[in-house]
Amino acid sequence: MVDVRLPTLLRPAAGGSASVAAEGGTVGEVFADLVVRHPALRDQLLTPEGELHRHLNVFLNDDDIRYLGKLDTTVSDADTLTLMPAVAGG
């Protein structure tokens, strides 16, 4: 199981938990499993087309998955995924 750490904003969609466990060999598979366990997370993680939300940062351990394989990034049981909303403005 991969440990997925959720930001405050996403916790209500996952029963209030700060971290949840999910299964999968890639980030996309882990997200799919997460959505089965916590359906309210679906629209927070992915666009209607199934792409990673532009305003969501996803880190595999210390690395931004945008610079790895995005949703195809390989993960293993010892890994931690950290989700954080992008902080931006004008």
Binding site: T8, A86, V87, G89
Partner: protein, 134 residues
């Protein structure tokens, strides 16, 4: 209300001044809530490298979050500069404000003296809050 350590206030203003003419941004750590305490300032890179918009560099965001957790606190807000306009949230700031629990600090560099103000942004509504130095 946002209470800032004087050293944090100085660090925020210095970071904004040094970042000009681009918008500067950074994260505040401390104790959250409606009456938050900003104990630590984490200057970050503006990944947008722009004088009109900012994006906190994602790696800097992760590092600040971890440093704050290690310090026993949490991220309580973000600051950024407006180089030529008032210290008031822009429509972009409002539409992209991710966290109703956060404190959004604006620093205007329009005039000779920088102006620092703080806001809550919830459901698209802007509410200014007092900033108190300690």
């Amino acid at each position: 209300m946002l209470v800032l350590e004087a050293a944090v206030w100085e660090k925020v203003l210095a970071h904004c001044l040094l970042g000009a003419p681009l918008e500067a941004c950074g994260l505040l750590g401390g104790r959250g809530g409606d009456d938050a305490l900003g104990l630590r300032a984490y200057p970050t890179t503006n990944a947008a490298s722009s004088s009109r918009v900012y994006t906190v560099d994602a790696g800097d965001l992760l590092r600040a979050d971890r440093a704050e957790a290690a310090a026993g606190g949490e991220l309580v807000g973000v600051w950024h500069s407006h180089t030529h306009t008032d210290a008031w949230p822009s429509p972009t700031d409002v539409s992209q404000a991710p966290d109703p629990g956060w404190h959004y600090v604006l620093v205007s560099l329009r005039d000779l003296e920088p102006v620092l103000r703080s806001f809550r942004i919830r459901d698209g509504n802007i509410e200014e809050e007092p900033v108190v130095l300690q």
